[in-house]
C-alpha cells in the first residue's frame, strides 16, 4: 500500500534553530531531524512518510505578508497528501502561524491539513472553523499525547475517509451544526430526557448553550474627587506608527501608552488601526475615541482626583473571547498595581 506523504511545519524553536532571537527568520526546509519529526515518524510507521519539514520564525510568519506564500512554495515541492503543523500548544504567534499555513494549504492547494493548539490560544478562534485543530495541553510536555491523535486524523484526511464528529476523531468542534437522522423521534427523545432529569439521572443536551461568564459589577466610586481614573479602549487607538504592531483583528496583544501631561490626543500623533469600523472620524480627532481632552479638563476642575498617566488600548475586532478575557484580567491587574480606582472604557 502506498505510503501517505506528509509535510511537517514547525517554528524556529521546534526546528531546533533557536529561541526568540531567531523569531524573525524566513521560511526554510529543515535538513535533518527534529524532536517532533522523530516522534511523528515513529507514530506513522509504514502508513505514512514524513517527506519534508518546513520551518519559519514566529515573528516572520505573523508579520510578513509574503510569508505564507513562501511557505506554500516550499511545501508544494514535496507533493504532500496532507500537512501537519505544530502542535503549537499555548504559543500565540506559533498557533496563528500554524492555522494560517493549514488554511492556505487547504484553500490554495486543496491539500488537507491538521494542527494542534491549546483551546484558549488566539489561533483557535481564528481558524477553528476552517482547519482541523486537535486540542492540546498548555505545555509542550504533552507532545507525546497529542501527536498520535493528529497523525491519525491526518492519515484519514489524506486517504479521503469520512471524518466523524469531533468527539470521535479528537478535533475541536468547528462550529458546524450538521443534520443527521436519529433512531428516535424528537418527541420521544424529549420525554426520555425529561424523565432522566426528574429521576436525577445524567443527561446531555442536544443544543449546548453559548457560554458567557457573568462578571459582577464593581461597587460604585463614592468619592470621585479623590479617585484615579484611567482611560482604556478596544477601539484600536495607538501612537502613529503602531510601534507594538497591535493587530487590526484577532488581536494578540494590548498595550498602555504614556500620556503624562498631555491635554489632548493630537490627530496624526495617534491613529486607530481597528479593522472593524470606519476609522476616519477617529483619525480626524482621536479624542472622539479616547476622550483625553474632556478627562484632562475634569482633572483640572477637580471633578476627578487624578487621570492615570497611561491609556490602555487593544483592538476588539473579532477578538477571540478567551483571548480578550485574558486581556481583561491582565489589564485589571496592571491597573490595580498602579492604584487605578475607575476606568472609562470606550468601544465602537
Amino acid at each position: 500500500m502506498k505510503k501517505v506523504r506528509i509535510v511537517l511545519y514547525l517554528n524556529q524553536f521546534y526546528a531546533g534553530i533557536g529561541g526568540e532571537e531567531k523569531a524573525g527568520i524566513p521560511p526554510q526546509v529543515k535538513e535533518g531531524e527534529t524532536g517532533p519529526s522523530r516522534l511523528l515518524s515513529s507514530i506513522l510507521g509504514n502508513k505514512g512518510e514524513l517527506v519534508c519539514t518546513v520551518y519559519c520564525g514566529d515573528n516572520y510568519i505573523t508579520e510578513k505578508p509574503e510569508a505564507i506564500s513562501q511557505i506554500i512554495e516550499l511545501i508544494k515541492g514535496s507533493q504532500p497528501d496532507v500537512v501537519i503543523a505544530g502542535p503549537a500548544f499555548a504559543s500565540g504567534r506559533y498557533g496563528l502561524g500554524c492555522g494560517a499555513v493549514c488554511d492556505a494549504i487547504r484553500e490554495r492547494l486543496n491539500i488537507p491539513a491538521v494542527t494542534g493548539m491549546f483551546p484558549d490560544s488566539p489561533g483557535v478562534d481564528k481558524y477553528r472553523t476552517k482547519v482541523y485543530i486537535v486540542p492540546t495541553d498548555e505545555r509542550a510536555t504533552a507532545m507525546g499525547k497529542v501527536m498520535p491523535v493528529m497523525a491519525k486524523l491526518a492519515l484519514k484526511l489524506a486517504l479521503g475517509e469520512t471524518i466523524g464528529p469531533p468527539e470521535e476523531e479528537g478535533y475541536l468542534p468547528q462550529g458546524y451544526r450538521r443534520n443527521v437522522f436519529s433512531e428516535k423521534t424528537g418527541a420521544k427523545r424529549a420525554v426520555e430526557m425529561l424523565l432522566r432529569r426528574l429521576r436525577g439521572e445524567p443527561f446531555v443536551t442536544e443544543r449546548p448553550l453559548p457560554k458567557y461568564e457573568y462578571v459582577p459589577p464593581a461597587p460604585p466610586i463614592l468619592d470621585l474627587q479623590r479617585a484615579t481614573v484611567a482611560l482604556a479602549t478596544e477601539g484600536g487607538c495607538v501612537p502613529e506608527n503602531n510601534p507594538d504592531k497591535i493587530e487590526s483583528a484577532w488581536a494578540t496583544r494590548w498595550r498602555k501608552y504614556f500620556i503624562g501631561d498631555l491635554s489632548r490626543l493630537n490627530s496624526g500623533d495617534y491613529i486607530s488601526i481597528h479593522g472593524g469600523y470606519d476609522t476616519t472620524f477617529v483619525n480626524q480627532d482621536p479624542n472622539r475615541l479616547v476622550p483625553l481632552d474632556i478627562a484632562r479638563e475634569m482633572e483640572r476642575n477637580g471633578v476627578i482626583g487624578k487621570l492615570y498617566d497611561y491609556f490602555y488600548t487593544t483592538v476588539g475586532n473579532v477578538g477571540a473571547i478567551s483571548t480578550i478575557t485574558m486581556f481583561g484580567r491582565e489589564i485589571a491587574a496592571d491597573m490595580k498595581a498602579n492604584q487605578v480606582d475607575a476606568v472609562i472604557l470606550t468601544g465602537t
Binding site: 451544526r177 437522522f181 428516535k184 423521534t185 424528537g186 424529549a190 420525554v191 425529561l194 424523565l195 442536544e206
Partner: protein, 429 residues
C-alpha cells in the same frame, strides 16, 4: 374526558363515481367534493389532485395540512369552524391514517411571501425530510375570485386590488381543508375501524412524577377564536385530537406547525403512552407567544408558569421554536419554571447559518435540556420532477419548480417540526 379514536388505514386513493373506503383504498368523487368546497367559500376554482408516496411529484405553495377526521359522537370535528364551539375530546372520532389533505394556492396580493413557500417532494431525497411524503395526499389547489390575483413576488408592491382581503381568502383555504378532511372521514361512519384506541387520563399511582406540556400558541385558532390576545390556559390533550386548535399562520415550512401536527401531536402521544407507567400526564398548558413587547412576554410566561404550579407539575415539555420574539416567551417560561423547581425540556429547531453560529437568538441560562429537531438552514439538492402540483415557480427565487433545485431544508414542510414529530437532529461538528 374519554375519547375513542377509531383508525382506518388508507393505503391508496383514487377518483371515482362514489366516495367510499374499501380494502384500504379511498375512492373519491372529485366533482362532489369540489362542489361542496366551492359552494360557500370565496373561490374561483379548486383543482383536486392526488399524490402518492414514491411518485416523482413535487407539491409547492402548501398552506395547511390536515388529517381526515370526523366525529361520530361527542360534538363536531374542528369545533368553532365546522360546527358550534362545544367542548370536544370525548365520544368517538374516526380518522383516516396514512392520508393527508393539503391546501395549496399561489400567494395573493398583499400576502407576505418571505416564508410562504412550502414544498413536499414525494420521492427521494426530499421525501426523507417531510412526513407528508409518506402519506397519500389529497391536494386542493385553490384560486381566489379574480380581483385577488397578483403576480408572484408582487406582494411587497402596493397593490391596486383589495389586498386586505388576503387574510380572509387564506382563511377560506384553510376551511376548505377542514371541510375536505371531514367529508373524507365521514365515509367511515357506519364502519368498524382497523383498530380503536381509548384516550383517557385515568387516575394512577400518585407517586409517579406529574408532567405537562406547555404548548406555544402562535397565531392559532382555538374553538374558532383567534388566540393572538390570549394569555395562557389549560386544555385536555384529547381536545387537540378533535381539532379544537388549528394552525392559522404560514411560518417557515420546516417548522410550520400544521393542523396535522396538532391533531397528531407526537409529544401528546408519547406522554399518553407513558401515562401510568413512568409518569402522570396532567394535561396541556397553552400559552400565547405572538407577543413582541417584553412586558407582555413576561406577563404570559408568569401566567403560564403559575398554571403549572397550580397543577402541581414537576416536569414540563416545551415544544416550540427558540427563535424570534415567540421564542423569547418560550425561554422566559422555561426560566420561570426552572426557578420554581420545575424541570423542563425544550424541543426546538435550529437555524445555524455559518460555523460558530450556535443558532440561538434567544436563550436563558436555565435552558439546560434541549432537543434539536435539526438545522433548517442546511441546504439540500432536489432532483427535477415529472409533475408539480400547486403552482409553477418557487417563490422568492422564481425557479421552475419542476427543475432541479438547491434549497435550504427550511422550505421542506415539516422537516424540523418543533414538537419533534420526526427524527432529524443536528449535531456538533
Amino acid at each position: 374526558m374519554k375519547l375513542e379514536l377509531g383508525t382506518f388505514i388508507v393505503k391508496n386513493a383514487v377518483f371515482s363515481d362514489e366516495t367510499h373506503l374499501k380494502n384500504h383504498i379511498l375512492s373519491i368523487n372529485r366533482q362532489e367534493l369540489k362542489e361542496l368546497l366551492i359552494q360557500d367559500l370565496d373561490f374561483e376554482d379548486i383543482q383536486i389532485n392526488i399524490a402518492r408516496p414514491g411518485e416523482e411529484v413535487r407539491i409547492i405553495h402548501a398552506i395547511d395540512i390536515v388529517e381526515p377526521r370526523s366525529k361520530i359522537s361527542g360534538g363536531t370535528i374542528f369545533p368553532g369552524i365546522l360546527g358550534p364551539p362545544h367542548t370536544v375530546g370525548q365520544g368517538r372520532t374516526h380518522r383516516l391514517s396514512g392520508m393527508a389533505v393539503i391546501e395549496t394556492s399561489e400567494p395573493v396580493a398583499g400576502e407576505p411571501t418571505h416564508w410562504r413557500e412550502a414544498i413536499i417532494d414525494m420521492s427521494d431525497p426530499g421525501s426523507l425530510y417531510s412526513p407528508f411524503a409518506k402519506t397519500v395526499n389529497l391536494i386542493l389547489t385553490c384560486k381566489p375570485k379574480t380581483p385577488l390575483i397578483a403576480e408572484i413576488n408582487d406582494s411587497r408592491a402596493p397593490s391596486t386590488v383589495d389586498s386586505g382581503k388576503f387574510a380572509d381568502y387564506i382563511n377560506s383555504v384553510r376551511i376548505a381543508g377542514f371541510k375536505a378532511s371531514a367529508y373524507l372521514a365521514q365515509v367511515t361512519k357506519e364502519m368498524e375501524p382497523d383498530w380503536l384506541d381509548t384516550y383517557e387520563l385515568t387516575s394512577i399511582d400518585s407517586s409517579l412524577p406529574k408532567v405537562a406540556i406547555a404548548y406555544p400558541l402562535f397565531h392559532c385558532v382555538l374553538y374558532g377564536e383567534n388566540t393572538d390576545t390570549h394569555l395562557a390556559t389549560m386544555i385536555h390533550p384529547n381536545e387537540f385530537m378533535d381539532g379544537a386548535l388549528i394552525n392559522n399562520y404560514n411560518s417557515p415550512a420546516a417548522k410550520r406547525d400544521s393542523t396535522y401536527f396538532k391533531i397528531n401531536n407526537p409529544v401528546i402521544s408519547e406522554l399518553y403512552s407513558r401515562h401510568g407507567k413512568d409518569l402522570n400526564f396532567i394535561g396541556v398548558i397553552l400559552y400565547n407567544t405572538a407577543i413582541t413587547k417584553h412586558v407582555g412576554q413576561d406577563r404570559v410566561a408568569n401566567y403560564a408558569a403559575k398554571l403549572a404550579t397550580l397543577l402541581g407539575v414537576e416536569g414540563v415539555v416545551l415544544p416550540g421554536g427558540s427563535h424570534a420574539y415567540n421564542g423569547a416567551v418560550l425561554m422566559r417560561l422555561c426560566q420561570i419554571l426552572e426557578k420554581n423547581g420545575i424541570k423542563t425540556v425544550i424541543i426546538s429547531p435550529e437555524m445555524s447559518d455559518s460555523p460558530g453560529d450556535a443558532g440561538f437568538t434567544n436563550y436563558v441560562p436555565e435552558a439546560v435540556a434541549m432537543i434539536s429537531t435539526g438545522n433548517y438552514q442546511e441546504k439540500i439538492s432536489l432532483p427535477p420532477v415529472k409533475k408539480v402540483i400547486g403552482g409553477y415557480n418557487i417563490l422568492e427565487t422564481d425557479e421552475d419548480a419542476a427543475s432541479s433545485l438547491t434549497v435550504p431544508i427550511r422550505y421542506l414542510y415539516g422537516a424540523t417540526n418543533h414538537s419533534g414529530f420526526d427524527k432529524l437532529v443536528s449535531k456538533q461538528y
